[in-house]
Structures are given as C-alpha cells and as structure tokens.
Symmetry: C2
Subunit: 227 residues, 2 copies
C-alpha cells in the first residue's frame, strides 16, 4: 500500500502527478493521508479530501511526500515530522517530490544521502546533511527524490518500473500518453532564458526567505531530536 | 475566470495538470465546477471538492473539460452536456483534455473542427463531425484539444502563452520545473513497443466497447437536439 501525504498549502500537482501513475500499479492501493480526514486546501485553491488520517494509517510500503509553500509549516510541525519519520522507518520505498525532500530532511532521512529538490530550494537540503544533486531524479538506496513539481511524474514512472517491472511502467506511460512536448525550453534554470530565470527568482524571493528561516529552524529541531 | 469541469470517474490528472498551470496565470481565477458542491470521486479514488455548482457558475472566459472513464456517463447526461454547450457559447476559449473532447463533441462544439483526444478514443470524434487529428495538441480557432491525460500540461502552457504571453508561460514552466525526462519511450502508440501497445489495448478493450456505445448514443442525441 502507498501512502501519499497531504497537508495545507502543498502544491497539488506534486501529489496528483505521481498519484496518476501509482494508482495504476496492479495490486497497489493508494491512500491519501493527512492529519485528519478533513478536506485540505492546496496552495492555489484546489481542495482534496484525504482517505485517512494519521491515526488510522497502517505502515505503508511506499511513502510519498509532496512539497509546496506549505512545506515550511509542515517541517516545523512535530506531528507531521514524526509521522514521516515513523512511516519512513518501516517503508520499503520513500519518495520525495519537489520540496517534499525538505520534509524528508527535517525527519532526518537524508543524512549522508544523495538527494534533490525543486531547483529554487535544492541547496537547502545540505542543512539536513544531504549530498545535494542538481538532477531531476536522484535515487539513493530506497529514497527517491525528484526535482520540482512535474518531475514527480517522471520519478513515479521510474519507481513503477522498480516496483512492478518496466513493461508495467511503459504500459502506464502509454495509458497517460506521456510523450511530452513542452512548448518552450524553460523548464530548468540551466535552460531557461536569463530574463525568465530572473523573474522567477524575483517572484519567489519572499517564499525563499521564509523557507530559509524554516529550514534553519527545522535543522535545529533535528539536531536536538532523537530521530 | 476559468472554469474547470469536474464529474464522477473522471481522470484527475486531466484536470490537475492544467490546473497547476492555469492557476498561476496572473489575474486569472480558476474555479472547479460540478453539478453540485459535493465532493467528487475521480476514477482511481482521489476525491476533489468543487468550488461551485453549475447553478452558481458565471459565464467563464475559459472552459476546461477533462476526460476519463466518467466521460461516457457525462456525454449522456443532458444537464452536463447543456452546461458545456451554454458555457462554450460565451467563453473566449474552450480547452478539451483527453476524452474531454468527446464531451465537447457531444455538445456540438466540434462540427467541422480539427480536434484530438486520447489516442485510444481519437477516431470516435468523427461521429461528432470533427476532423480527427493524430496530434498531442490541436488548435482550431478558440477550441484547444489535447491528447491523453498528460498532454493537458503541454496544452495549458500553450494556452497560457496565448492568454498572457510567452514570458508568462515560460515563467510558469520554470516554476513547475517542466523539463520532462520520461524514463521510457512508450508515450504514444507510434513509439511504444508493440507488445506494450497490445497489452494497453487489451486492458482497455472493455472501456473502448462501452465508450463506442456511449458515443453512438451521444451522437444520436446531438443529431436530434437544437444545439
């Protein structure tokens, strides 16, 4: 069984992209788990209802942790961090999408591990002891970390192949007609036109500042925890 | 304002992919609209809560119609077909994702127009008078139709550029780190290994049969309607 974490102000595509892939895995059930069963408002307004609360959750075989603006609060919420740490301890695979990897870091799961994140937050993983990678998909043992938002789709297909074989993963890829044709070449800081990157950085500056503060505090919490 | 249609047993990524792009358009509000405000269960279990019911919906500037297994019932539901027809009449742009284009067809919006759909249902568009295209993205006037599931992300970026300019679209592409790296080459019938295509067709055979019946009935309804 797969458990996908849902929390307020997360970026919904971090969850819904991989959901579409993982829910098609034969024999797998996908649960969306949040603190309680109350509907959760994601960062841009979409409302998703979890299928179970933390207290009802069994040990998942696969734990999926998405990111988004709400990651800052989630990293500093002891109940959420504890849930991630406990589940990850028993899970066969852990998948962090976008800044969900920061939450994995806050739970102490990335110490000495190679890991990635959204390009705008990737460097911050070092504060949790991770070896930061500038890749769309990073795999270290049973911990899979993907870059920003849409990279969760690529990574979920990679994971699907590891869980159920390449034929199954390819069949899912065909079902969801995943033969991408991005209309522009702007999907990473390495390829985006410089003025686009500058604008994206400017519009994300406020988020970046509060994230730096949240990561510093979460790293201090981790250092003093028994996790 | 953009209105995205939500109905039971739809494929959630048809909606959530474009949502992530369109909700980032400066000055645009995105509403998720269903018959009522009750939470809706999508085909593989994810539950999404609409932000408004049909009766509350204003005239949208952009109407987005996703697809999925539930399209069959939606095409044959007079209230849904009427809602799509009425909204499309006043919208500046109409976007059909995956088999959402069949619903556009059932509402009489594709007569004499070039249009696409999910590869496994594309040919059925002809029954609604469309000129079927084997493309991931087809634009005919103000009607945008995308191929299966994930193509909605590409198409939403294309539409974002048309609505707000290429710089804005590229900035969104960078924010969602959309520089895809599909792990396999299997995303269309044209590139997938033959045994994968065969399996996908076999596993979709039942859906295809019920869809053929639903399209035939929807086409008859359209022929006798005043739409």
């Amino acid at each position: 069984m797969a458990g996908m974490l849902l929390f307020p102000a997360m970026t919904q595509l971090d969850l819904t992209g991989p959901y579409e892939v993982l829910a098609r895995l034969p024999g797998w059930r996908v649960e969306v788990v949040a603190k309680t069963r109350d509907p959760v408002r994601t960062d841009r307004g979409l409302v998703i209802t979890p299928s179970m609360g933390f207290a009802e959750a069994p040990q998942f075989d696969l734990l999926v942790v998405p990111g988004g603006p709400g990651t800052d609060a989630a990293m500093l919420d002891p109940e959420t961090v504890e849930f991630v740490r406990d589940q990850a301890r028993g899970a066969r695979h852990v998948l962090g999408i976008c800044t969900g990897s920061l939450l994995l870091g806050a739970a102490g799961l990335l110490r000495g591990r190679r890991a990635g994140s959204h390009w705008a937050s990737r460097d911050l993983l070092a504060q949790f002891g991770a070896e930061v990678r500038d890749e769309r998909m990073t795999i270290d043992g049973n911990v899979y970390t993907a870059g920003g938002v849409t990279s969760g789709i690529d990574m979920a297909l990679r994971l699907a192949a590891d869980l159920a074989g390449e034929d199954v993963a390819q069949q899912i890829q065909l079902q969801i007609e995943y033969d991408p044709e991005p209309p522009f070449t702007a999907g990473t800081p390495f390829v985006a036109p410089p003025h686009i990157l500058e604008r994206a950085r400017a519009s994300g500056a406020k988020i970046r500042r509060s994230r730096e503060a949240a990561v510093a505090e979460a790293a201090r919490n981790l250092a003093t925890s028994k996790g």
